[in-house]
């Protein structure tokens, strides 16, 4: 074949190589693109700020208690009207400059201190339970999706079994025995908040993983059929490399989204379980047990009931909106 013919046959490929300033070619990863989308969504950003404020507040609270700014257990009996059933003397729950949200009826403890410190415990329980559920759910999901066959079937039935189990009932029925059992492995007695909190985290987490396993398994099933997994096998990549370097980076979006949607579920679950008497008991405050206590005064001292309810509602809604926003941002095809 002559030279001219070979030139004829070949298309001009010069346009493939762009002239680009080498400094400017740093690629934007899918993560960075998702963050860009997230930032443009106002509602998500607002909910993110709210969640951030709660988180920072939760982190600061123990410090503030230590320096004496928050006094979640100091009683101010002088602010209570003993003749009227220990209701605060002034309006709005006895609000004053030193107690902006008032004081607790009956004990006279600063409401702001209890709620602020309570956020720390509530978020810690929700976070720990979410982590337990996410880790178990993700690992079992990956194994189930990848192994297939009998392993997949066994995990699938385990998911069904766990989902059909009456977990609230079990939490209640086994709570005293469970807490005592937990206390054996932990420092402190069974009445400590540590043992109670640990039991709550354990049960919430151990019953929370099945939906995540199902989600992750589905994702793995689609990803493992993608050709880049075959390409990795073709190089002789090890199973570990395929799981953790090829598949896992493609899973963190659903993991993150289910995390932000599990958190609010567990925050409200903590509140509900407090009402049923499970979990951390007073005097250690949680949003749940403060709310439970306030229900007794919902008519006599409405503001004491109002604040914890509002705080729980705000954090749950914000976390949910954050999760929705992340889901939209991480999945470009979900654009409306």
């Amino acid at each position: 074949m002559s030279q001219s013919e070979s030139q004829m046959e070949r298309l001009d490929t010069a346009d493939m190589v762009d002239v680009v300033d080498p400094e400017a070619v740093l690629g934007k990863s899918p993560t960075q693109l998702a963050l860009g989308r997230f930032r443009r969504d106002k509602l998500s950003m607002v909910s993110f700020v709210v969640v951030a404020v709660y988180t920072i507040g939760a982190l600061l609270a123990p410090l503030l208690v230590k320096i004496g700014f928050l006094k979640p257990e100091l009683q101010h009996q002088n602010l209570l009207n003993v003749s009227l059933g220990s209701i605060p003397k002034t309006h709005f729950g006895g609000a004053s400059w030193s107690h902006p949200l008032g004081v607790v009826p009956g004990t006279g403890v600063d409401v702001m201190s209890r709620l602020w410190y309570g956020i720390t415990f509530s978020l810690t329980i929700a976070l720990a339970a979410s982590l337990v559920a996410i880790v178990i759910g993700t690992v079992l999901g990956i194994v189930s999706g990848f192994a297939g066959g009998i392993v997949d079937a066994v995990i699938g039935r385990l998911v069904d079994l766990t989902l059909s189990f009456p977990q609230t009932l079990m939490l209640l029925a086994l709570s005293s025995a469970g807490v005592v059992a937990c206390a054996k492995f932990l420092p402190g007695s069974a009445s400590d908040p540590l043992a109670n909190g640990f039991y709550e985290v354990l049960v919430l987490g151990l019953f929370g993983w099945p939906p995540i396993t199902r989600l992750i398994r589905g994702q793995v099933l689609t990803i493992r059929e993608r050709e880049f997994v075959e390409a990795a096998r073709l190089f002789g990549a090890s199973k570990g490399r395929i799981y953790f370097k090829e598949i896992l980076p493609n899973l963190w979006a659903p993991v993150l989204v289910s995390f932000t949607l599990t958190m609010p579920a567990y925050i409200s679950a903590e509140a509900a379980l407090s009402y049923l008497g499970v979990g951390i008991h007073p005097p250690t405050p949680t949003l749940g047990n403060v709310l439970t206590d306030s229900i007794n005064y919902s008519v006599a001292d409405f503001s004491y009931f109002f604040y914890p309810a509002l705080l729980i509602a705000i954090v749950v809604v914000s976390f949910n909106l954050l999760g929705d926003g992340l889901r939209d941002a991480l999945d470009p095809k979900a654009d409306r």
């Binding site: 074949m1 046959e9 070949r10 390409a231 190089f235 980076p249």
Partner: protein, 399 residues
């Protein structure tokens, strides 16, 4: 191979013709009868078990995806594998790269039998056999940079110290015509054709001796297909890589492969060198496939090729027809076709056909071209048979 009858295309026309490149002519894609085979496949078989539903899974049958396929790929040469969807061509490719373990048969790569090897034993051979995937959108991990994707084989096989990986990646990107500075970009920032180039760079990373290209251009725009095919030809010439080129586009296979095998329902029905297959195909299925190729040049001169329309669907590979698998759709089928399976018979120097009526050319349309006075006149020319396919201006050139 005196088949240098590529019509000199005028530059305006070449843009139209890229989708049906006028094959031949290219030194690297010529058939060298003396080339030693890099890959010899013999009686390759892949049966996928079909399970019943329910709790107790019983095997109720097998999908006979590949059933007794044999061919050779010469070192530095290329063999095309064509057939319609579901005929087992991609499965064959994945068997040769040992992504699947064959049910039976032998795959001999440079004297080593790899059909039965374990994944661990295959590890050193992974460097020698590589694959180019069909869909560049899914064959690149969206969460990895191009540098990580192309460099991964080097790290897995530990062939280069870590600080040498990046220069090598950039070198490879340059070979495939990408900007080497783009190594830290992500796949989604590239166009389809560029992504396929990344896939090619990855396949070349370990300097393989055999590349299985599984429909490497079928997911690309027609204008990009030519560029990628050109690139593959350059790569083949430069590195002397043997190609198994899987495709359903006959024109592209014709351009790329001096030897072509046609598959139907898991079996090779005809295998021949390029000229023979495209001009004197004996198997009715091959003829039907060829008649379905649109021909711009014929249309330009008012000619029209007789279109062979196959009726019916491809039978299920779980329960293929007895005897000849093509008989249910074949217009030549006789009783014998249902009873006796036609063997792949040698009917020419490099021409094998699996058809009971392969020799009886009279029963076949000798030339699928009809009408057009110019062509009809040329039909009496003995050289016509080899040129009907590439008439450009109504003046067929001699073969």
């Amino acid at each position: 191979m005196s088949h240098i009858d590529v019509a000199v295309p005028d530059p305006d026309q070449s843009a139209v013709l890229v989708q049906v490149p006028d094959g031949t002519g290219n030194a690297a894609s010529q058939l060298d009868p003396n080339a030693r085979p890099v890959l010899t496949v013999k009686d390759l078989q892949m049966y996928f078990p079909v399970h019943s539903g329910g709790i107790i899974r019983r095997t109720v049958g097998h999908v006979q995806a590949v059933d007794g396929v044999s061919f050779q790929v010469p070192a530095g040469g290329s063999v095309g594998l064509v057939g319609e969807s579901g005929c087992g061509k991609s499965t064959t490719g994945r068997l040769i790269t040992r992504l699947y373990k064959p049910t039976a048969g032998s795959i001999n790569f440079e004297g080593t039998e790899i059909a039965e090897m374990s994944q661990r034993q295959l590890m050193p051979l992974r460097r020698e056999i590589q694959m180019i995937f069909q869909d560049p959108a899914t064959s690149l991990n969206p969460r990895h940079t191009v540098g990580a994707i192309v460099g991964a084989p080097l790290l897995i096989h530990n062939v280069l110290p870590k600080d040498k990986v990046l220069p090598r990646v950039q070198e490879l990107l340059e070979i495939v015509g990408l900007n080497p500075e783009h190594y830290n970009r992500y796949p989604h920032e590239f166009s389809g054709g560029q992504r396929q180039r990344i896939g090619i760079a990855r396949a070349l990373t370990l300097q393989p001796k055999l590349l299985v290209a599984d429909e490497p251009v079928s997911a690309l725009d027609v204008s990009i297909q030519a560029q990628v095919i050109n690139l593959l030809q350059d790569v083949q010439k430069e590195f002397g890589i043997g190609f198994l080129f899987i495709a359903h586009d006959l024109a592209i296979v014709r351009h790329f492969c001096p030897e072509v095998a046609v598959m139907y329902l898991g079996k090779i029905v005809e295998i021949a060198d390029r000229e023979t297959l495209y001009t004197r195909a004996h198997h009715p299925y091959t003829q039907a496939l060829l008649s379905a190729v649109p021909d711009v040049k014929q249309a330009a001169i008012g000619g029209r090729r007789e279109r062979i329309r196959l009726t019916g669907d491809v039978p299920s590979p779980i329960n293929p027809p007895s005897g000849c698998r093509f008989r249910t759709r074949c217009w030549l089928a006789q009783d014998i076709c249902a009873q006796v399976e036609p063997p792949l018979m040698q009917i020419g120097p490099r021409h094998k056909v699996a058809c009971h009526f392969a020799g009886e050319l009279g029963k076949h349309p000798t030339t699928p071209v009809t009408t057009s006075p110019a062509v009809a006149a040329a039909a009496s020319d003995p050289g016509f048979a080899s040129t009907w396919f590439e008439v450009t201006t109504g003046q067929p050139t001699g073969g």
